[in-house]
């Protein structure tokens, strides 16, 4: 029996092609908007996740200088934290390892090519805390750090700019006229959260930067320190311990302000993720409005249809159609319309989001949930907007309906 109801409904909606198409359009745009907005929200969240993953999780960041001093932000970046401070932290409970870095802008030269780049003097653990991976060659070691070896590891951008397609491993580049041997290259991370080029960097041992680029008289001070903690729930405790250690090592009295700043990456990550989540929610909510408008369109069309087809309903009833059959026929019509609209909307939404992905060079994910939700929404919208008109059709008195002009 359901097959026959389905057939009758199908013939009815295909008899009024333009009207059906226009009604379908409303739902199609609504679903496409929802799919598109959810995809945008998902992509934003993914970009956030990836960016933070590339910075490493379970991480405390130690910055020299106080964040506030007597309520006033002062002495930011004043060199107060030394590499010895950072090495001392390795003995703190729940600390996996520490690393530190110091940066200098230099001009890198290879053959006829030259490129302006930030050189980072750091420790071998930096690769771990910074989530860097070696692409070709090798990384420098603790031994190289002690020996202040003239080795460099290049980011992908530097490789591209200086070497093009040439293999850089074993070649010598010049930084401030001093030769350095390229021993490795880093895997590309792509653009960062703010669109900056994360791959435009050169890594070398901290000692090498200090002695060869900056000159040996420079103190052993660092620009940034990293403390990698065993698990995320230990971050707060370790933060406290690092604070005690630094205050003790810097001989700070009880009333003195910290001359350093410790940042908890996990907290920051959680906050930015929250913003991303609410952004998705907001986009989805705005898109849902067009879906509601589309479903009102279906209800409107079905009501007009019931009125227009009053005589048909009367005839069908006189010829033996049970009330339930009449109701089902109209209900199935509205479900079919919203189902077709949703399907086309899904295709349109997925298509547009993938085109957008190509244009903005982002991988735009389409989750199975988007599909499941839009199909269920289609059925619910179809039932809700078709129920009232269908009941109206069912309740028509066949005598009045037959007399209707």
């Amino acid at each position: 029996m359901f097959k026959r109801i389905f057939g009758e409904s199908w013939i009815s909606i295909t008899s009024y092609k333009l009207r059906t198409f226009l009604t379908t359009l409303g739902i199609m745009i609504g679903v496409a908007a929802v799919v598109l907005m959810v995809a945008v929200g998902q992509t934003v969240q993914n970009v956030i996740d990836e960016s933070f993953a590339s910075m490493g999780g379970n991480l405390l960041i130690v910055l020299p200088g106080a964040s506030t001093s007597g309520g006033i932000r002062t002495a930011m970046g004043r060199p107060t934290v030394s590499r010895q401070d950072m090495d001392a932290m390795k003995d703190i409970k729940d600390v996996v390892t520490t690393s530190y870095a110091s940066m200098s802008g230099v001009q890198a030269i290879y053959g006829k090519n030259n490129w302006s780049v930030a050189v980072t003097g750091t420790t071998p653990d930096y690769l771990d805390v910074g989530n860097w991976e070696i692409n070709r060659g090798i990384a420098f070691t603790e031994k190289d750090l002690k020996a202040a070896a003239s080795y460099v590891v290049l980011g992908q951008t530097v490789v591209d700019e200086l070497f093009g397609f040439e293999n850089p491993i074993g070649k010598t580049i010049r930084l401030q006229n001093i030769p350095f041997m390229v021993i490795g290259t880093l895997k590309s991370k792509g653009p960062g959260l703010t669109g900056d080029d994360q791959d435009n960097l050169i890594l070398m041992p901290f000692t090498t930067l200090r002695q060869k680029i900056r000159g040996a008289r420079q103190p052993q001070m660092i620009n940034i320190g990293f403390v990698k903690v065993t698990t995320e729930d230990k971050l707060d405790a370790v933060m406290q311990r690092v604070n005690y250690l630094l205050r003790a090592r810097h001989n700070l009295k009880e009333n003195d302000d910290d001359d350093f700043t410790i940042r908890n990456m996990a907290e920051l990550v959680a906050q930015v993720k929250k913003v991303g989540f609410y952004l998705s929610l907001l986009l989805g909510a705005i898109a849902s409005i067009s879906l509601v408008v589309g479903s009102i369109g279906i209800m409107n069309m079905m009501l007009v249809s019931v009125t227009e087809r009053t005589r048909e309903i009367g005839t069908r009833k006189a010829l033996g159609a049970p009330n339930k059959w009449i109701m089902m026929q109209f209900l199935v019509e509205s479900i079919l319309i919203s189902f077709m609209g949703s399907f086309m909307g899904l295709v349109l939404g997925v298509g547009l989001s993938q085109i957008g992905g190509v244009i903005f060079e982002q991988n735009v994910p389409i989750s199975i949930w988007t599909v499941i939700v839009s199909v269920s929404v289609a059925i619910v919208v179809g039932i809700l907007s078709g129920l009232f008109p269908a009941i109206k059709a069912m309740k028509l008195d066949p005598i009045d309906a037959l007399r209707y002009q």
Partner: protein, 239 residues
């Protein structure tokens, strides 16, 4: 043919209750019987209760009181859906304005009553084609009603009324929208069907249309004014 009762109406009344406590009695105790194979014309002025009687006989409406046996089944107290089943299985309707589904093929229109009895699509089409041929419209099965003349459309409606082998054909002013020549054709068709043994109940206000019937039920002010041979009635009137 045996005189089997196909319609038995006993003291039928119908009262319409209007808001404000007003009420109007349209049928005031009507009793009659119709045997299988009869050709009955129901006549009466507008407001006489003729349409209400027709709707009640057609199971589209329930009487306020009284009994109505249709093919032996008491139908005056049935629910909407039970009445729908009775209409679909035992009655065939022919309306003044044909009431065809204009967007559907002739075959779909003719087989519409079968749709609600769970007959398969294939069988529907086969039976409809045979019936379309029987009313003289061979080759029109896949056309739509707009491509047919009024007389042809009414033939489609007759085919639709016959498709479920009904006990009675109820024709409500079947020639009201047709010219006189086409009217004669349609009425001859009813006469032929009646000669084949089908019971026909015809509602009309035109005497020359009613003359095709054998028996006349004349309604006035909600009661039967005349019940008997149609020829006798009009012969008397002519005198």
């Amino acid at each position: 043919m045996k005189n089997r009762k196909v319609v038995e109406v006993d003291n039928l009344t119908k009262t319409y209750f209007m808001p404000g406590g007003l009420s109007q009695q349209v049928l005031r105790g009507i009793s009659f019987e119709i045997n299988e194979g009869e050709f009955v014309a129901i006549m009466g002025h507008s407001g006489s209760g003729k349409s209400t009687l027709m709707n009640t006989l057609g199971c589209l409406d329930r009487p306020t009181s009284g009994k109505y046996f249709l093919a032996g089944q008491e139908v005056s107290k049935l629910t909407d859906d039970q009445l729908a089943v009775v209409r679909g299985k035992t009655l065939g309707f022919v309306f003044q304005n044909f009431n065809l589904l204009m967007k559907r093929t002739i075959a779909d229109n003719v087989s519409l009553p079968l749709l609600y009895q769970g007959v398969s699509k294939k069988e529907c089409y086969e039976r409809a084609s045979a019936m379309i041929e029987r009313v003289g419209l061979k080759g029109y099965a896949d056309r739509i009603p707009n491509q047919l003349s009024g007389g042809m459309q009414q033939r489609v409606a007759i085919a639709r009324a016959l498709i479920n082998n009904p006990k009675i054909i109820l024709a409500d002013e079947p020639t009201g929208n047709l010219d006189s020549q086409t009217s004669d054709e349609i009425m001859s068709m009813f006469q032929d069907l009646n000669n084949e043994g089908i019971t026909v109940i015809l509602v009309t206000h035109e005497a020359d249309v009613a003359m095709y019937a054998k028996r006349l039920l004349r309604i006035a002010d909600g009661v039967i004014e005349y019940d008997g041979s149609i020829k006798d009635y009009f012969v008397k009137e002519d005198k």
